[in-house]
């Protein structure tokens, strides 16, 4: 009997005990009808081959392990960045359970979202009644300042008219006439979570800006961060930099406090976020800056339509991308970049110079959302590394062109390949046939790490199997330092693991590096 009260074994060691090993072997042999071991190991080897890679990359219909989620997740995340805003997803309720779990598992935080709980009868007759009753219940129970409505694929397929439904609900008294109910159509069969983010932020802006007159432009700069699993660390770091520059700014959509509430005996359903008054005032800003282009294409067009100047970045991280961000902000605000920030920059450069030998020529595979992959590839090239595979399942051909242009700008991008629309099962083939030293992306990459032995640096969203990374910034020079350290730690940890066998490989188990 392996178990004991004194030294309680949980699953990991328990099932390594001989009793369980024996039981599992017997189960396999007698009852599972497995394929012969040789057949399995042959197939395993075959999946590592160029031949398998070609078949794998030629797939036209099947998607395996995609690195993207669906639109409403982005809309729910976006809504979480506005003050006392309850997300209301119109459609079948299971979706909402999924968005809530997904966000909670990443941030280790509550995620409050309601559903209109549409079932079969709503599929036939439409979901108007669910909207009318649902808004009334949400308004009464959860005391929001705003209810942000988005859709699931069900509501989109049956063609529910959100605007009309919300008007109807207001007429029936579900919420007061002047209560704000911005909305966005976010079908799951179009785009990905980054587009859902775009639609919801645009929906909120339209709700407050449509028909409002724009007064003389103010010096405040609007900043839209985009879908960012690291918003907690990043938004706070950016605010610190902007405060150092004494710039007047307004974050439009800021979930950094909502997904980082303190534990002190109280549950705060809402915390932080852009206030309604600030969203209204943001109409008058001269400039709107988006930190991620692919997250805000429609929103930025809308900002331009109302008369604002607008520009976007690709998830600014690393040296040059941060330089650019700060210089643009400096230029449009006419505020100088203070010496303190120059010194921070210098410290990052110092760190990169100190560690260059460990990073030079390292090959990377990077996957994730289009803006992040762009930013990460750029930073890797700054460290003298080679972004060998750059993959975005939700990347477009326009993204591919931008990536190629970026990669062509550095000798370190010479051998890089860009993979728009491909999934992580395709990346598995790429890693077997053209291996790299490090893999950068979210937690789903752990299966690639296991199968191909490529060490994974966990970044972006979702990160389920490591804790608290999102509390630290990736953006800015401080963020660059953190990124640098994360990559170096992975390299050193791996080197130690490979060299720690006493008397066999430990001649390189060095103390000083």
């Amino acid at each position: 009997m392996p178990q004991s009260a004194e030294k309680t074994l949980d699953h990991a060691p328990l099932f390594c005990e001989p009793e369980y090993r024996k039981m599992l072997a017997k189960k396999k042999l007698k009852f599972e009808c497995p394929h012969p071991d040789q057949v399995v190991s042959d197939q395993r080897e075959f999946t590592k081959s160029w031949e398998y890679r070609e078949k794998n990359l030629a797939r036209q219909a099947l998607v395996v392990n995609p690195a993207k989620a669906c639109q409403p997740l982005g809309a729910v995340f976006a809504a979480a960045g506005f003050e006392r805003t309850m997300s209301f997803v119109h459609g079948s309720q299971g979706c909402v359970a999924y968005y809530r779990s997904h966000l909670s598992r990443h941030f280790k935080e509550p995620s409050s979202v309601v559903s209109s709980s549409m079932t079969e009868d709503a599929a036939v007759f439409g979901g108007l009644k669910n909207m009318v009753d649902g808004l009334a219940n949400t308004y009464k129970l959860y005391n929001p300042k705003m209810i942000a409505v988005s859709t699931t694929c069900m509501a989109e397929v049956i063609g529910d008219d959100l605007h009309g439904f919300i008007e109807n609900a207001k007429s029936e008294g579900s919420v007061p006439r002047d209560f704000d109910v911005p909305f966005a159509h976010t079908p799951a069969f179009v785009g990905s979570h980054v587009d859902g983010y775009d639609s919801m932020v645009k929906g909120v802006l339209e709700n407050f800006w449509k028909g409002a007159a724009r007064s003389e432009a103010t010096a405040s700069i609007n900043i839209i961060p985009g879908f960012d699993g690291f918003c907690v660390g990043n938004n706070r770091e950016l605010k610190r930099l902007l405060d150092l520059m004494q710039v007047t700014y307004m974050f439009i959509q800021d979930a950094s406090d909502q997904f980082d509430t303190p534990s002190d005996g109280k549950f705060r359903m809402y915390d932080g976020g852009t206030s309604i008054n600030d969203v209204k005032a943001a109409l008058n800003a001269e400039w709107t800056l988006s930190l991620q282009y692919y997250n805000t294409r429609k929103t930025l067009d809308y900002c331009r339509d109302v008369g604002q100047a607008a520009t976007s970045f690709h998830y600014p991280l690393g040296v040059e991308a941060t330089d650019e961000l700060l210089m643009v902000i400096s230029e449009i605000s006419s505020k100088e970049i203070p010496e303190a920030i120059r010194l921070e920059r210098g410290r990052l450069i110092d760190a990169m110079a100190d560690s260059q030998a460990w990073l030079y020529g390292k090959k990377y595979a990077i996957y994730g959302d289009p803006d992040f992959v762009y930013a990460m590839a750029r930073f890797i090239m700054e460290t003298g590394g080679e972004p060998t595979h750059c993959l975005a399942t939700n990347g477009t051909s326009a993204w591919e062109d931008e990536m190629k242009e970026l990669l062509a700008s550095s000798p370190f991008g010479k051998n890089a390949q860009v993979w728009p629309g491909k999934d992580l099962w395709a990346l598995r083939s790429l890693l077997f046939t053209e291996p790299v030293d490090l893999l950068i992306g979210n937690s789903y990459g752990k299966y690639l790490e296991r199968d191909t032995g490529t060490p994974l640096v966990r970044l972006m969203f979702p990160i389920f199997d490591r804790h608290h990374h999102h509390r630290f910034p990736l953006m800015g020079y401080q963020g660059g330092l953190r990124l640098l350290t994360a990559i170096l730690d992975k390299i050193f940890d791996n080197l130690d693991r490979e060299t720690m066998h006493a008397g066999v490989t430990d001649y390189s188990y060095d103390l000083t590096r």
């Binding site: 009997m1 392996p2 004991s4 949980d10 369980y20 039981m23 599992l24 189960k27 396999k28 009852f31 009808c33 497995p34 394929h35 057949v39 399995v40 197939q43 395993r44 999946t47 398998y52 036209q60 219909a61 099947l62 998607v63 395996v64 995609p66 993207k68 989620a69 669906c70 409403p72 209301f88 079948s92 309720q93 299971g94 979706c95 359970a97 968005y99 909670s104 509550p110 309601v114 559903s115 209109s116 709980s117 079932t119 079969e120 599929a123 009753d133 649902g134 009334a136 129970l141 959860y142 397929v157 069969f189 990905s192 005996g265 109280k266 549950f267 705060r268 359903m269 789903y444 299966y447």
Partner: protein
Amino acid sequence: MTFKYANDSDLHAKLIADVLSQYPDKAAKRRSKHLSLATSEKDAGEEPNAISECEVKSNIKSVPGVMTIRGCAYAGSKGVVWGPIKDMVHISHGPVGCGQYSWSQRRNYYVGLTGIDTFVTMQFTSDFQEKDIVFGGDKKLEKVIDEIAELFPLSNGVTLQSECPIGLIGDDIEAVARKKAKEHATTVVPVRCEGFRGVSQSLGHHIANDAIRDWVFDKKDIKFDPSPYDVNVIGDYNIGGDAWASRILLEEIGLRVVGNWSGDATLAEVERAPRAALNLIHCYRSMNYISRHMEEKYGIPWMEYNFFGHSQIDASLRDIAKHFGPEIQEKAEKVIAKYQPLVWAVIDKYWQRLSGKRVMLYVGGLRPRHVVTAYEDLGMEIVGTGYEFGHGDDYQRTGHYVKEGTLIYDDVTGYELEKFIEGIRPDLVGSGVKEKYPVQKMGIPFRQMHSWDYSGPYHGYDGFAIFARDMDMAINNPVWGLYDAPWKNDRALAAVAG
């Protein structure tokens, strides 16, 4: 042994009245039918299974616009029943999201080479685009199946897990299944588990069971020598290895577990199920349908059992053994005796630290009742419990486990649960990931009772030791004493000053 305690009925009744008063009238009327107290305990102290009444309305539509914790039929079929069958590829047929969010989230442990001969922790999807909605997805689905056959040739079949749009646009996945099964000489199972069907994941379980009945049973010539001691373990999804901690006991008492459903299962184990002598069902809610079917069609009896906590494990082993006669009964007694020292060592270690602690539960499947006695085995008391997607028969069964005055809440909303927890301030809440963080912010210990909070197994004697340790680690964690900043605390200030 009956563990005696009473719950505060007056407080609980007041809490129900308080939460209902906050709803709009229509919603209050609907919700009032789902909230109640367990009443009229009969013969308490005499019978080990005193029966309380805990009647609430269940398995009906959630109120729109509130935070229900329920999922959908797809979650019930793909996420629960089919997903853990390891040697088949389960296609999330429709847009990308459903497969993505359910990808590898349920800790259905298994043994196998993922991507080669096993596929549980992968996400296969037809990734519907707008054109698929407009023109239909059947052609694409055919191609998806062809590509799976080419890239994953050791998969022993595929299932088509329908997402919402499939039913709405009228795709004929059954025709695709028949055609492709023939072409590839394999098993292809269409499952109509669109998320809008039914009121929760519960209908998804039922639909998934029906798909096993209609598309798996009696489809192949099975070569198999049955023995009189063959049992199927039905409704154990091997969360954190639960089914293994159960299997080891069943084998020790002399039974042959021919199928593990559906944790760590292969298609072969499902196909052979109708040849077993007895079906042992753990999660009654999700799998009673197929057990009833096997009883009707193949004459296989079924019985429920409970492997949480030593008193129920002992009782269940005895019940199971009784079905097989004296030889197995004798072995069962030996096995129970063998584990007694472990059980008592666990209780000795934790009783002082846990007895008298009050627990609120809110989970799905079987756990709102099955874990009650596991807590009581450690001296803990259950003050409230309820099901996400239970039916009337689940609440009837709950009566065997709970004490008078226990707060009962069906399909509880986020608002109600928060208010109940605030009002009762239990020592522990056991629920899911969506509830975990709000409760912990309130300073109340919490365990995820769907995923065992990434621990486990909790089944069997080996699991009971882990269960006890986990509850102690949650409840007696030093962090709960650190919530108040000392400068807000007069006593701490006085101590420093003094």
